[in-house]
């Protein structure tokens, strides 16, 4: 469903994403993991067609996001890092606007908006002005706009960031419920989130894919934290490795 091949993105001389490839199949939830600044947001922006890649391709349902952009974009629901809300619109008006923009048929708009409002728990908030919502509700409206046209592919950039534990739980349940025959890519740096809701994990570090693995294939007894740190360390620079050794030596000196 989502096929990312040899993606490279350079901002001038700075290369944010280097030869990234991975695949997410229909019905899968793919967790996109990595430290801050690893290139997660850049990769997601390329997948959704917001910006072009310097090299490489992305196919959504077999459609190239660059050459067949309109058709490919029709199939994607996207929640960017910051929920893209118009601060002076009301929640319902905003969702209706997004539904129209994403090509929901006129007769189906009411139903589509009602449905996502229910699913994301916004029933009491439809008359509120987006700019006055709390962070948690903004996130829900962001999720609602990504879902309103019932897309087969969902791209969620840190969907649970800034939420309180109860909201995090609710949003996770919601995402898991959404999977079905959809393909979902979500980025996060909360490790338990991935092991709880994802089928597959892709770890990205310093712009490169450090690991692509099914969650069920991770050996039992190994925590995702260990897998993550191991993958990152393997990709780490020689200098960092050197620094680690020095620390170990210092540690050894103390214990001696």
């Amino acid at each position: 469903m989502i096929d990312v091949k040899h993606l490279t993105k350079a901002y001038g001389s700075f290369v944010a994403v280097k030869d990234v490839s991975f695949k997410a199949e229909k019905g899968q939830i793919l967790g996109f993991l990595g430290p801050n600044g690893a290139g997660k947001t850049t990769t997601m922006r390329i997948i959704t067609g917001f910006m072009p890649a310097t090299a490489g391709t992305v196919e959504i349902d077999g459609l190239d996001i660059f050459n067949n952009s309109l058709e490919a974009r029709r199939r994607i629901g996207y929640l960017p890092e910051n929920p893209p809300l118009y601060v002076d619109m009301r929640v319902e008006g905003y969702l209706r606007f997004v539904a129209k923009l994403r090509g929901v048929k006129r007769a189906e708009i009411d139903g589509a908006v009602d449905h996502v409002v229910q699913v994301t728990g916004l029933s009491d908030m439809t008359g509120r002005i987006c700019g006055q919502l709390s962070k948690g509700y903004r996130q829900r409206v962001g999720l609602a706009q990504a879902l309103v046209h019932n897309p087969p592919v969902l791209v969620l950039d840190e969907p649970t960031i800034g939420l309180d534990p109860r909201q995090i739980h609710e949003i996770r349940e919601l995402i898991r419920g959404l999977a079905g025959d959809r393909t979902i890519v979500l980025s996060t740096h909360i490790l338990p989130e991935v092991s709880q809701i994802c089928d597959k994990v892709v770890i990205i570090n310093d712009g490169r894919v450090a690991l692509e693995e099914m969650i069920k294939d991770i050996p039992e007894g190994t925590s995702l934290e260990e897998v993550f740190l191991h993958a990152i360390a393997r990709e780490g620079h020689a200098a960092e490795a050197g620094a680690e050794e020095t620390l170990e030596e210092v540690g050894a000196g103390h214990s001696a």
Partner: protein, 257 residues
């Protein structure tokens, strides 16, 4: 087309829920009222003066169109130079800053439709502004005897002028995420188009003729005098077309950088 209307509808509704548009509207109409009052006072005084001196020929030559509406429209055009950049500065810059730009550019719509929708909305708002400024001709029609056709041509000129300001404003707004930068640079371009013919007043030759052709007041003045010349209308429409084309390129450039 449907997407263009969706964008235009949302934008137009946006103008009426945020204060900038109301401030622009108020400043425009209030200043217009003050100018109108001043012109009318002057006109009145001159009429009395000419009457006292007993010159019926001069009195017959004086009319409301050239003495009141003509200078009023020129003053309003200067007000527009100042307020229109404030109206258009947020159109793209705000979307970029708040992150809604990602929503627009990842939606299955063409950049041309985004630009067209935003222009339609700003154009409709401009129409409201110019229509409200019809209050002054209306007052003259009720209490005096001006030539309606000439006033209509002048107001059409004012509307076309405002549309070209809007399109320049959309272009500068599409270049930045900073509204101040958008406003100042569109202000700069508009002022330049106002004074571009200054060095050409005396000279001849092709370059000077070109500068004269590019001058906005040059074309506007013809319409204010009551002449709707196709070449002036075409000029304003080509300013709009060029600026909108550049805007579309600028928005689209996010896809090739």
């Amino acid at each position: 087309m449907r997407n263009t209307i969706t964008i235009a509808g949302k934008e137009l509704a946006g103008y009426f829920v945020q204060p900038v548009a109301y401030v622009v509207l108020t400043v425009f109409v209030l200043l217009g009222g003050w100018f109108f009052f001043a012109m009318l006072r002057q006109f009145d005084e001159m009429v009395q003066l000419v009457q006292m001196m007993g010159q019926p020929d001069t009195l017959r030559q004086m009319n409301l169109n050239t003495r009141v509406i003509d200078p009023l429209l020129h003053d309003l055009s200067v007000v527009l130079v100042i307020v229109m950049p404030a109206l258009t500065m947020r159109v793209f810059a705000e979307e970029k800053r708040s992150g809604t730009y990602e929503l627009l550019l990842t939606a299955p719509i063409r950049t041309g439709e985004i630009v067209a929708g935003k222009f339609l909305a700003a154009g409709a708002f401009t129409l409201v502004m110019v229509a409200l400024a019809w209050i002054f001709p209306l007052i003259l029609i009720v209490f005096g005897n001006p030539e309606v056709g000439v006033m209509f041509a002048g107001y059409l000129g004012l509307f076309l002028l405002a549309l070209s300001f809007v399109s320049v404003g959309l272009f500068t707004s599409s270049l930045t995420q900073n509204q101040i930068i958008a406003a100042i640079s569109s202000f700069g371009i508009l002022i330049l188009l106002f004074v571009i013919s200054w060095p050409a007043e005396a000279g001849g030759g092709v370059v000077w003729a070109l500068l004269k052709y590019l001058s906005l007041p040059e074309h506007f003045s013809t319409m204010v005098r009551g002449v709707i010349d196709t070449s002036d209308v075409v000029f304003f429409l080509s300013v709009v077309g060029t600026a909108l084309f550049l805007t579309q390129r600028s928005v689209e450039s996010a896809r090739w950088r």
